[in-house]
Structures are given as structure tokens and as C-alpha cells.
Symmetry: C2
Subunit: 725 residues, 2 copies
């Protein structure tokens, strides 16, 4: 790739970004689009636009608003998890800015002023020699100028350690503060109990659980909720909900048609058969009402039998204080620790109910199987990615597909192809994976969505680092390195050091494309906007349907993290070899921070809260990236035959030490709730009844009475302790 | 070594054993020796001899008594730890007996009936070809007879899995039963708190600890005891004790001299200077009384200042129920888990006070340093051991030291040298190490003796397996294998498989020497007996001194375990290659069980109780031995060019799986007290005052009043909660 195509790529991306940003500024001012651009504020009952009236608004005022928002704003609008994500973004930004401040003014001149003619050590495949002059490739072997790069390696590492340490401390405090907040949160009063042993004949699960916990926690036990097999109840409930929606829709249509003139209104009709296409034609409102009335008692009786007869070997146990729950969740209960496993209860809304009843050893087996599948996935994706990067250079393409030659010779086509093809292929490629990995993580038997997202994000990280980063690095120079490895098997150690510099431009472009187009689309929300307007015009009739059409969805930062991680891995690894990549990394994280801050404050509504438990994962992965970087540098220095390369070894050792110390100092308070935190008083005497109710799955909730008397009936045998609060 | 010298070695050992056993039978019948042979019974206030009178006793009745004793007897006489050690011995015995029952009748004929002339694949260095015929070395490569050995490998592994699983379950129950016993044990009501953060100005440690725990455990907190720096108090106290002993001795001498006729008695005198050799001559009794009266107030005032002013950053916190203590010990307390580290309190008698105040990171650093030292020790001991085993064969000795030739040529000298020299050297060698390792383990900052012994036992295991087993195996055939490895570097994988068979006889002799002489000495207690009689005659004057002279000491099984482990590693590894070793292993563990059962019931008084926490260590090390065995077998089958060797791979995988499942199923309940167990009621309302008092170190205990009013004075500021029991 030559310098022109790189510039073209960059400029095009930038233009796209500016266009999208202007589109955003224009679109977001139209009140009819408020639900797309300010749904979080609307759902929280706030005015879509803060402060000044809409007409006086500067099109870039969102930037000011994002910059002036505090962490407390983020927490109140979007929760601790989102705030922690911003800590991550700003840590990454901080690392890169501080590194850049020293590396750019020092290393670029060191490289540029080195007037040595080098023949084959290049930081770009092809003829992009402009970058070469600024990179470490321009330094000849054994040169004393390598000292500057060695010190640079140390500097980047030190900056990373410093910022990560501060960030971990800060997140730890954030988590602590959130956990000790005086608000009553149901999950803080409960624990999840799994692997309950076989129940004795003539005794219900409920009795078994109650007596077990009443014996041990005689003074703090409140009551228990045995997990039930809700499959059938869920099915009936979903059917019921379907008819409800249909009814609401038909009623809306009827009301609308009435106002538009027809005195009797238009009553919708539908067919009862397959997909509403065949069968008898009926009046929808009557039909739905009939069906609802038919299903209601069916659901009720199913609820009763479910609660009574379908009790499973898992339960949620409630305590009358946060302290008691936190303390119980951390203790081994059974003499055989593979039964009565007690853990912190996840939030009710993020429990994966069907996973709760999976038994101890089944979980372990599932986990092993999932790991094998993930390993296979990572391994076999290598093939297509290697293929793509082999085509990255047009020379290869021409050689392999000679009939394309005339087309490629056209300058425009050539530039566009070179600039975009491989990067787009890669990005599309990566977009396919998260859902698959999430499915796998759920299959492991993980009890909560937050935990499953952490697990899948971890898998994605391995995937992206191994496949995209290492795969492209080694594969991109496959033809050149293969011969080397064949002759000298020992070069496996330095393979990353050899492969990396040659791919600098690929990754610079990759990073650039990511942020401009990605964040532009994110900010403008063009796709949701179009879908919403289409739905509004042609599909949505009832209020609920409208709401569903503009529902902003989850912040989904767990799927963004691996991508960010890939970027920081790339930028760290190239930071010293080709410092020119640092500004791009800074823009990526800076722009990301800005755009996502806007989205967090105004758009997305997080669907769960894990109080920053993602942080240790982020932290250890940044450290992993740092260690990859250090090892790469070690390999590269060896290649440069620098005699003081050994000086890097203490740095690598220190990185591992730092990882260990951090996990010792901080991790435990993330995996459990420290008692010091849990012992803080709650605002009011907690309403244990409502805490209990929060965990009842929707399909088992009483339909008839708001206060849930009916469920209470069904719970008759859910014996209750005399609440001692 | 030829067959004769092997037989000589064996016979001599056996004769020594018989002589020692007869000596034991004779000596133990003399009442004056009862304190040596029955001290545990005497200290427990039981009759030295059970049942029948001493005159009618059969000299071998101890065998009957040992065999008929139950596990409950062992627990009541010597505690759970000892009982667990016997579970270990009988598990090892069971594994070997069950293995032998199949391997001996199957594999010996398979080998013996194979009439193939082999030239260089021998199970013994030298000319000991009799054993060869019975070993796997007698089977030629690719023979279908190898199937029998493959199945044998599987059989031994399966037997091990089965027995270990049952044993772990059994020990787990033993531990549970002991922990839930209704007796009040002080350590079950307390937790150890370390890493207490900096105290604020104007506040005492005591107040800090009290307020912290009272906030968190408001209802169950009883009081706390801040660990103090007792160095000075200890010194004064020891001095005082010294004078007390001297006084008692002088008084005993005086009384004795009075009875023997002298009306005024003989008053001992001593000099006040260096070692009692120089200085003024004074009357001992007067001098001591004077000194004691001088030191007592000094001690009292030092106690007061210690308790008040020398409070350290560690404490023991008491709860008013076992459940509360068990639950608190398992929970993370502080938001920064490197402060306020809470763990289960060790028994008062086994606390290493000086280690309690070592800070979190200092502990980690100390640990790393100790690991490095241990690694160096293991590595550098290789050199002398390699040296010894190089001399093992007399041929080498003759070659290296030709002037010894005439001496070695003498048949008697040759036999004795060959039979004993290397083994004795090895045993002496191994005896030097445990104290050093124990010292290192204590330096790690471990808070209890039991834990330190586990740690040092683990280190010793690595040492013995790496140095003795692998070292001798590879070193013993050093001259022959070196050439091989030089030519084919890939043989590193099969080096154990190559080296092992050649050393079979060395290890058979090693095992045989271990049990006969070792257990003979153990049973007869000749050394303690002689020391006791010498002391009694020439040194001891007072009652206390006598008691000290026959004090039986600790059972010390923690130092025996690594040795047993080495034996089981050796026997397992050779079980299939040379099944003839199995009977020796059986005798080792059978005889060990018998002799030590006697010693446990009658002699040793364990100095601490850890409720079987040694078991997981033993379990995982037996499994480690099993895996070494399986890998060795794999290597050996590869050498035999057996095409179905891959069948062993699932076995090795299964071993790792078994290790994992066991740790998941059982380990947690060993590292913590399960709440299910802790919630059992104690016999009586615990006397919290005496529980608290149990943890006061002897040098801080009140001297004047039995009920400890004086200490209470010193504890004035140890504010107490209104005991709510």
C-alpha cells in the first residue's frame, strides 16, 4: 500500500465521519427523532434536551455536554458498569497520551535523523516508505540509537502500570460506593443456592432448603424461593402476551379509524390458522379477548402446579440483612463442597433461569466442552483470516488471479481495493462472532447474563488477539517468514518481532477505519433511525409497539470491550516500533470516549448492573496486551542484535509481578462483597416482601391482583419465617 | 550388585530388626522403662499396661494390641491428625496389596516364561540377573506380552483412584466429625486478623480492632486480643523460668541430701559469672529466690507495658459462637483485601507469634525468596547425590580409585560396601534436610506450626522425588545415558523410562533398609532410652527435670510423610516394571502401620491438632507419584516400541481429571470450616473468658493469681462487650 492509498483511506473515513456527525446534528434537533437520540432521558422522565431551548442549540453542543458530564452523572444515568467502561476508555487514552508525549518527540527524530540506507527491513508491505523513515525499522542493527527505543519500551510500561494501578483503585472505590449505597437492592439480600442434594422421600425441596438454612442462619434467614421448571408456564405466558399485544394493536387501529371518520370504526380481522394466512377469518378483538380469557385460568393453574410440583435442585435464599447475605455467599456451607454451593445472587432481571439447575459436574463438563469448541473456533478461523491477509497485497492478487490485472491497473479501483477490502473483510468477519460466543458462554451453565458476557468477552479477546493480531502479523508476511522458519526453527521466538513491523500500515489503517466509520455510525444512529421510522409508518399501531420500536437497547459494552482491547493491543505493540500509530490510538479512544459518553447519557439503557465486575477482566487483558508487547519488543531487539536486550527481562518479570500484586490487592473484593461494605445501613427498613417478589419470574407473577394475593396462595407451602426485622 | 549382596543386605537388616524387636519386648517390660515406652498413656493418666498384668504379657502382645485398636482409639489417644496419617498408611498399603494381588501372579510368570536372550536391557547394574528374569526388561520389544504390562499399568492406576477416593471421603468425614464435636475448642471461637491498616493518631489498636469488628459483627463479636511484641517480656520470663528450675533442682538436691543422713543437707552453690564458672560463689537457693523476687515485679511491669504499648498490626478476635467465627473467617472483610485479612485462628499452642505481624506484601516477598532458596537447594544437592550414585557400582570405584582394588577384592568388604554404603549415605543425607526446610517454611511468615509443617513437608517431597528418585535414576546410569542424549536429544522424553529399570535393585535395597532398620529403631526407642537413663542418673534432680527427660515429644508425622511418599513413588514406578518390589512396599507400609500404631497409642503426644488438614497434601502427592509412574511407563513402552502405547494417554488425562474433581469435591471443606459443620451445638455454654485466656502467651500470663486478676488489670483497656451468651 502506498502513501496515497493510505491517505485516501484516511480522508474518506474522515469525510464519512464528518457527514455522519452533521447528519446527527441535524437529525437530533427534530423532535420526532428525540426518541431515537434521547431515549434514555425520556425513559428516565427527563426533558430530552437539557438547559437551553432546542432552537438555540449549537450543532456541536453534545460535545460540550459530554465533556462537562461527571462520573456521577454517568452512574445516575447508566449505572456503575458504564462508568467503569469509561474508566477503561480514559485509562487507555491516558496510557497512549502519556506514552505519545514522550515517544513521539523523542523516537521520531531519532529515526528520521538516521541516514542509513536499509534495504529489506520495512514497516509496510509494498512501497510505503514514508512511514519507514519514522519507525524503528530505520535504525540499523547494533546502533546505539536503540537505547532510545529500549527506554521507550520501559516508559510505555511504566505509564501503563501507573495508570492501571490508579484505575483499579478508583474502580474499587466506585464499586464499594455503589454496593454500600443505602438503596435497597433485592440481589444484595439474597444468595443463589445450587447443587442441592437429593431430597428425602416425603419432603419437599422447599422444606429441605428452609430447614437447612434455618439451622445454619437461624437469626438472619428470611425465606427461600425454590427454582422451578417454568417451561410450560413460560409457554402459556408468552402465548398470552402475544394475544395481549394483538388485542392492543387491534384496539389502536379501531380507535384510529374511529377518529378518522368512520363511525363504526374498522375492526381488524385475522385468520386462525398457520401464520394468520389460512383458516377461519375472525374478528381480532373478539378472538383475542376470547383466547385471553381461555388462557388466563390455564396459566393460573399451571403457575400453581409449577410452584408446587416442579421444584428443582436450586433456590434463591433471602436474608434479612445485606451483611448476612454477603457473609453467607462467601462461606462453604456443605461438608461436601460439591453440594449446597452458595454464591451471590445475580440481579433478578439478569438471571438465566434455565442454567440455575444445571448440576456441579455437568457444569464442569459443559465448560470443558465449550473450551474445546472455542479452541477449535479460534484455530480454524485462522484459515480464512490467513487467506484474507495473503490477498492484502495487490501484488499477490495479481499473481494469483492474473485475469484481474487489467481491472486492478485502473488507479481508482486499485486505491479503493487496497485501502478498504482487507479491512472491511476483517471487520465483517469479527462482527459475526460475538453472538456465537455468547451462546457458548451461556451453555457453560453460567447463572447470570453479566457473567456470561464477561465470559464471552474473554473468549472474543483471545480470538481477536490470536487471529486478527497474531494471525495477520504472521500470515501477512507468510511467504517471507515461512522460508526463514524452515531454515532456522529457532526463529519461532522472534517471529512476532519479525512479522510485526512489516504490518504497521495495515494496522494503522485498521485502527483509523474503526474509529471514523464505527463511531460515526454509532453517533448518528442511522440504522435504528431508519428502522424506527419504517416501523412507525407501516407497522406500529399501539403505544407499546411504538415504545418497542424505539427501545434503545443495552449499552452492550461487553461486546465493545474485546474490540477496544484489540486496538490497545495493536497500538501498544506498535507504540515503540512505529510511534506514528499512537495518535491514531489516541483518536480512537478519545473519540470513543466522547461519542459513547453521549450515547451513555442519552441513548442506551443498560439491561443489568454488575457493579463493575468487568473491570478485573479489562485490567488483566490490558496487562496481557502489555506483556505481548514486551515480548514482541524483546524479539525485535534480538533481531536488531542489540546487546543490552536482556535489560527487558526484568521488565517482563515485573509485569507478571504487577499482575499478581493487583489480583492479590483488589480482585477478592470484586469476586465477593466485602463485609466492610455490606455492613452499611440501608436507607429504610427493607420491605422483604417486595425483595422476595422481585425474584419471581414474570411467567409466575400473579395476573389478577397487583398485590399478588394469588401468588401468595400458590406459595402457601412456601413457609415463611416470622420476619424479624 | 549381585544377588548375594542383595540377600546379605536383606538378611542383615532383618536380623537387626528382630534383635531390636526382642530388645523392645524385654526392655518395655521393666517398670523403670515405662516412661519411655508408655509416656502417652502415663500423661493421659492411664495404666501403662492395659488389661492383663505385666508378668503374663506375651512379648508380642503389642502387635495384638495395635491390630485390635480402632480408629476411635487413635483419635482419643493421639488426635485426628494421627488418625489421618494411619488412613494414609493404610491407603498406601491397600493400593500396594491390591496391585500386588493381580500383578505378581500375572506379570511374574509372563516375564519368567519369556525365553528370549536379551543382552543389555537389565533391571540391575552389574550382574544381578536373577531379578531380570522376573521383570519387564525380560520382554523383547514389540512383544504381544506387553499387553499384560499395559493392563497392569491400568490396574494399578484404577486401584489407586478407588482407594484414594474412598480415603478422601473417609478423612473428610473424620474431619467433619472432629470439628462438630461438642467439646469447646478455643480456636473454633476465634479468627486471626492480620494486616490491620495504620491506626489513626490518638486511637489504640485495640479500639480500632474492636470498633471495626463490632460494626460488622455487632451481634456475635465477643472481644479481641491485639498481638503484642513480646520479645522483652519473653526474655524476662525465660530468665525467671530458668531460675525457677535451678531453685527446684537445688531444693531437690537439698532434700535428697537430708534424707541420706546429713542433718543440715547439702546446699548447692554456684558462681554468678559466665556459665557459672567464674564470679562470686553463692548459695544457689538463696541466690535464686533473690533473683526470682527481683524479676517478678520486672516481669509484671513489662507485661503491663507490653499489653498497653506494644500492640501490633495483628489480632485474634473472639466470637460468641463457632458458626460466627467460621463464617467470619471465610469472608472478605476489607474493600482492599490486602488489609484486614481474616483467617481461621490456629490452636493457641501452635501459633507462631512472631510471624503474625508480618505484613501482606512482606509475606509474599518472603515466600518468593524462600521458593528460590528451595529451588537452589534442590538443584545443588543434585551434585553430591549424583556423586554418590556414581560410586554405587564398585566397578566405578575400582576404576576411579585403583589403589582401593586390593581392599575391595576382599569378598566380605565388597559385599558390605555394595550392600550398604550408597544407601546409608543417602539416608544420612536426607536426615539433614527437614530442619532446614522447616526453618525456611517458618520464615515464609506462616502463622501456625501445622501449616509450616505442611509447607516444609511439601518442599521435602519435591526434594526427595527430584533428587533421590529422578537424580539416582538418571545419575545412576549417567555414563550410559549421556552418550544417548548427546546423540539423540529427543530421548529426554524417555530418559526416565530408560533410567528407571536399570536402578531397580538399588531401590529394592533402599526400601528394604528403610523399613527394617528404621522401624526397628523406632519401635525399640533405644536412643531415647539411653539418653533418658543417662540423664536420670547424672543430671536430673527435680521432678520436672525427670519429666522433661522422658517427654516423648511430637508424633512428627509431617517429617515422616515425605519419606513415605518417596517410598510409594518408588514402588508405584517399579510396580509394573519389576513387580518384585511390591512385597517390599507392602512390608514397609504394613510394618510402618503396626509399629507406628503402637507408638501413637503409647508413646508420642502430638503437639498440635489440625483436624486432618494434611490429607489434601498427601492425596495430591500420591496422585503426583501416580502421574510420574504413568509418564515413566509411557516412556518405557515407547522404548519397547509397543504400538498400542497411546492407550496410556487417556489414563494420564484421567489422572489429571481425577485430581481436579477431588479438589473440587473435597478440598474446600479442608481449607475452611463448612457452616454445616460449625453450626452444631457445643456441649455446654462456652466459657468465653477461658477461651480468651487460652490465647494469652505464657510470658504474659499472670504469675501471682491463678484466676488472673492481675492480667485483667493489665487488660483494663481491653474493653469488653457485654457478653451476650
Amino acid at each position: 500500500m502506498d502513501f496515497n492509498s493510505f491517505l485516501t483511506s484516511l480522508t474518506t473515513s474522515f469525510v464519512i465521519f464528518v457527514v455522519l456527525m452533521l447528519a446527527f446534528a441535524w437529525l437530533s434537533r427534530r423532535p420526532s427523532n428525540y426518541v431515537i437520540y434521547y431515549p434514555n432521558r425520556i425513559l428516565k422522565g427527563l426533558e430530552p434536551l437539557e438547559g437551553s431551548g432546542s432552537k438555540l442549540r449549537n450543532p456541536f453542543s453534545w460535545i460540550r455536554e459530554a465533556l462537562s458530564s461527571t462520573e456521577a452523572d454517568v452512574i445516575s444515568m447508566s449505572g456503575v458498569d458504564t462508568a467503569v467502561y469509561f474508566v477503561f476508555l480514559s485509562s487507555a487514552l491516558g496510557i497512549l497520551v502519556l506514552s505519545g508525549l514522550v515517544l513521539l518527540p523523542v523516537l521520531l527524530p531519532v529515526a528520521a535523523t538516521n541516514h542509513v540506507k536499509l534495504t529489506n527491513d520495512t514497516t509496510s508491505n509494498g512501497t510505503f516508505s514514508n512511514l519507514d523513515k519514522l519507525s524503528m525499522g530505520n535504525i540499523e542493527a547494533k546502533s546505539p540509537r536503540l537505547w532510545a527505543y529500549l527506554i521507550g519500551t520501559y516508559w510505555v510500561s511504566m505509564v501503563t502500570f501507573y495508570i492501571l494501578w490508579k484505575a483499579y483503585k478508583h474502580v474499587s472505590e466506585l464499586r464499594g460506593k455503589a454496593l454500600m449505597s443505602p438503596e435497597v437492592k433485592p440481589e444484595q439480600f439474597s444468595v443463589l443456592v445450587r447443587d442441592i442434594p437429593q431430597v428425602h422421600e416425603g419432603r419437599s425441596r422447599k422444606e429441605q432448603v428452609d430447614s437447612y438454612f434455618r439451622t445454619i442462619h437461624s437469626e438472619t434467614f428470611y425465606r427461600s424461593m425454590v427454582v422451578t421448571d417454568n417451561k410450560k408456564a413460560n409457554k402459556i405466558w408468552e402465548e398470552l402476551e402475544g394475544y395481549r399485544k394483538k388485542l392492543a394493536r387491534a384496539e389502536a387501529v379501531f380507535a384510529a379509524s374511529k377518529t378518522t371518520g368512520k363511525p363504526e370504526g374498522t375492526r381488524s380481522t385475522n385468520r386462525t390458522g398457520f401464520l394468520g394466512l389460512i383458516g377461519k377469518k375472525v374478528d381480532t378483538m373478539d378472538y383475542c379477548n376470547e383466547k385471553i380469557n381461555e388462557l388466563l385460568p390455564k396459566l393460573e393453574s399451571e403457575q400453581k402446579t409449577t410452584v408446587r410440583e416442579k421444584q428443582q435442585a436450586a433456590a434463591i435464599v433471602f436474608f434479612n440483612s445485606r451483611l448476612a447475605a454477603a457473609s453467607a455467599a462467601q462461606a462453604v456451607h456443605s461438608q461436601m463442597p460439591d453440594s449446597w454451593t452458595v454464591t451471590e445472587a445475580p440481579e433478578p432481571r439478569q438471571i438465566i433461569w434455565s442454567n440455575l439447575t444445571i448440576k456441579f459436574y455437568e457444569r464442569k463438563i459443559r465448560q470443558s466442552i465449550v473450551y474445546v469448541i472455542v479452541a477449535l473456533t479460534i484455530f480454524f478461523y485462522m484459515i480464512p483470516i490467513g487467506f484474507i491477509s495473503a490477498f492484502t497485497t495487490l501484488e499477490n492478487l495479481q499473481k494469483l488471479l492474473p485475469f484481474l490485472k487489467p481491472i486492478i491497473k485502473l488507479n481508482v479501483v486499485k486505491t479503493v481495493l487496497e485501502a478498504y477490502l482487507p479491512q472491511i473483510a476483517l471487520i465483517v468477519f469479527l462482527a459475526l462472532l460475538p453472538k456465537f460466543l455468547m451462546m457458548l458462554s451461556k451453555a457453560e451453565g453460567i447463572p447470570s447474563v453479566a457473567h456470561a458476557e464477561r465470559a464471552s468477552s474473554g473468549k472474543y479477546f483471545y480470538f481477536s488477539v490470536l487471529n486478527v493480531f497474531i494471525g495477520v502479523t504472521v500470515g501477512g508476511t507468510l511467504f517471507s517468514t515461512f522460508k526463514n522458519i524452515e531454515k532456522h526453527p529457532n526463529t519461532i521466538i522472534t517471529v512476532l518481532g519479525t512479522g510485526l513491523p512489516a504490518n504497521a500500515t495495515f494496522f494503522v489503517t485498521f485502527v483509523a477505519l474503526q474509529f471514523f466509520v464505527g463511531y460515526g455510525l454509532e453517533l448518528s444512529r442511522l440504522v435504528p433511525l431508519i428502522i424506527y421510522h419504517l416501523k412507525r409508518r407501516y407497522l406500529c399501531k399501539s403505544e407499546d409497539e411504538m415504545k418497542e420500536a424505539w427501545a434503545p437497547g443495552d449499552f452492550g459494552y461487553a461486546t465493545m470491550v474485546p474490540n477496544d482491547m484489540l486496538i490497545i493491543t495493536i497500538v501498544l505493540c506498535y507504540s515503540v516500533i512505529a510511534p506514528i500509530i499512537i495518535p491514531f490510538g489516541v483518536i480512537y479512544f478519545g473519540l470513543g470516549w466522547l461519542v459513547l459518553r453521549n450515547q451513555a447519557l442519552k441513548v442506551y439503557v443498560p439491561s443489568y448492573e454488575s457493579y463493575g465486575r468487568m473491570w478485573p477482566h479489562m485490567h488483566s487483558r490490558i496487562l496481557a496486551a502489555l506483556i505481548i508487547y514486551q515480548i514482541t519488543m524483546f524479539g525485535y531487539f534480538v533481531l536488531k542484535e542489540f546487546s543490552y536486550t536482556v535489560i527487558l527481562i526484568p521488565l517482563i518479570v515485573f509485569s507478571f509481578l504487577f499482575t499478581y500484586v493487583c489480583s492479590q490487592k483488589f480482585y477478592q473484593s470484586f469476586s465477593a462483597t466485602p463485609l466492610e461494605v455490606a455492613c452499611h445501613e440501608v436507607k429504610e427498613i427493607p420491605n422483604m416482601e417486595s425483595i422476595f417478589r422481585a425474584f419471581i419470574p414474570p411467567s409466575l407473577r400473579s395476573e389478577k391482583f397487583e398485590d399478588g394475593d394469588q401468588f401468595e396462595d400458590a406459595l402457601a407451602q412456601f413457609s415463611r419465617t416470622t420476619s424479624s426485622i
